[in-house]
Symmetry: C2
Subunit: 341 residues, 2 copies
């Protein structure tokens, strides 16, 4: 019997690869956290790499080349934000069919430019290659102040509060509108489609969380439920969240109806930050981000003892919400258990 | 009229992208040299990225997964060697169909491990994604001592000698044997096929060239003729090389017949170093690499004034050799002019 990549799934494979590959001393966190971290001369560098594949991560009939460039860079910058890092430069590899118009390739880089400039992340180099399917692979390098002053996944403790920045579900709503051909002309539709095509990495929020003393966090790329499960697995803890506390855009029910918060919880690509801190630090973080006029912070639950990696969702009355939604695994593996009570 | 990527070609596009993208101050050489170079804290970092695509750079019926892992890492390490750098870590992105066996993915990382260990280049992180075609994209980070102490393409001067490490054409012969189904059982066949599947990046040679005072060089990935043309274009000079001086394996005529040196000149993927230096420095480099028991150095020609980027090939009697071979462009563009006299 053979076991395929699809059977094991993206997250199962990563663990096995870490055993097989020639890896670094334990200072390299690249197999567990959003970015790798290592000492370089007198500083600490972080780096992350993320690929976007045509018809998996975007479609040419709903994404412009500018959109693809923006989103590919944004997804990588978000992994730097997830550690609280400062990005310093990007390497961009683009594989595409020879029949694509040259102007489209330039549009791809043009779409990336305003975000690269805003984040002060120059494109330092890259590679072009031919392929049947478009594949964009970006590596972003950044800096952090020290090994300790960083957002990590393994540092959640029982009693900590769980919070997110911004609102969740907009990117999923945008995807639903693009794929389902919904009411794209409505006001909210433009907002949701922009969230899907041109997400904003929360770089300043990540740095501000570090300033407030937060040391546990990640970005929400695969969906809140799936990503919280990863954080809890890394920390050896369990999470309880309250469904109604998940912050959503007021118009989200217009796309997802009554189950809009379930969609907000399972939908990926919002690229908001998910983080965990003791109550006093959490209060400081909320105040600090408000003072800096950054994204709002919403507390959605608590870290508790129990089955490692389990995420329990309750409604406001305390009843466990049965979940069928799962986070995004690139190989479609059903590897993410959402525990009941 | 639309202009496709195939019309402009890989190297034409890179120049236009550098104008379009948000790029760094001039210290970032990633668009011109083999690797980007920038100051980081108290040191100088270099980084390079290179992708391998199924059925473009390898085929699953002639490459094992171990071979793919080795070659993808080797191609990137070679770009670090091309600058004379010391590699420090790698990021590996693998896009592949969900139906691939998990054991194959582990074999890919296993194939990379001995080379990563030899080069002291741990795998610091990466990404897995699903795609129809296998795409491997690797970014390698490394260090150099200073901005000046590095091999670059733009520093060739009239009167300099042109040299290469090792022998050329073995990887092309290996590819011909694999693709043409030649005499794979001959002694030489195993050697050539290994050169194609498991090339050795010339890291110690690149560092030794710097020690000897060489400051101009690159690796030969697209073929000597094409790569020398790039070096001459970057330096604003012309090159004259003598066909018979191109170092080749004694058995190469068994694969390529009388035109074996033309194949050695046009065939890519040898990952030897091509470098240029004044005669006294060249002598020092030859002696230094011999003392260190590294690859042999062979002088094959001279840098001369004239049409920027032109490469003239003569036979030993001084006659110009007419050339029809061209270097490898990922989009098949015929963008590489090989000038006559």
């Amino acid at each position: 019997m053979t076991v395929t990549v699809g059977d094991i799934g993206e997250f199962g494979l990563i663990g096995r690869i870490a055993q097989e590959a020639f890896t670094a001393p334990d200072e390299a966190l690249g197999f567990q956290d959003d970015a790798a971290l290592w000492r370089q001369g007198d500083g600490w560098l972080i780096a992350t790499t993320d690929a976007l594949v045509e018809d998996v991560d975007f479609r040419l009939n709903t994404f412009s080349w500018e959109d693809i460039g923006w989103k590919a860079l944004a997804a990588n910058l978000s992994d730097i934000a997830a550690m609280g890092g400062v990005p310093r430069g990007a390497f961009v590899t683009l594989c595409l069919p020879a029949g694509i118009e040259a102007a489209d390739v330039l549009a791809f880089y043009k779409g990336m430019a305003p975000l690269a400039q805003e984040a002060q992340t120059p494109i330092l180099g890259g590679d072009l290659s031919s392929s049947e399917q478009i594949v964009v692979s970006i590596t972003v390098l950044g800096e952090v102040e020290s090994r300790e002053r960083v957002l990590r996944r393994a540092t959640a403790r029982v009693g900590d509060q769980i919070a997110v920045t911004g609102v969740l579900g907009n990117a999923a709503a945008g995807l639903a509108l693009l794929e389902g051909g919904g009411n794209e002309n409505q006001d909210y539709a433009a907002r949701y489609i922009a969230a899907q095509r041109r997400p904003i990495p929360r770089l300043r929020e990540g740095q501000a969380l570090l300033e407030a003393g937060v040391r546990c966090g990640m970005d929400i790329s695969d969906g809140l439920a799936a990503d919280l499960q990863k954080l809890c697995t890394a920390s050896g803890v369990r999470a309880e969240i309250i469904l109604e506390r998940i912050p959503t855009d007021p118009d989200l029910p217009l796309v997802f109806g009554d189950s809009h918060r379930l969609h907000a919880m399972s939908g990926g690509e919002d690229f908001e930050l998910l983080f965990v801190a003791p109550p006093d630090t959490m209060q400081r973080a909320q105040d600090h981000l408000r003072e800096k006029a950054l994204e709002q912070v919403t507390v959605i639950g608590t870290i508790v003892a129990g089955q490692r990696g389990a995420v329990t969702v309750r409604d406001e009355r305390g009843n466990v919400v049965p979940l069928s939604h799962e986070g995004f695994d690139h190989f479609g593996a059903a590897g993410i258990p959402l525990a009941g009570a």
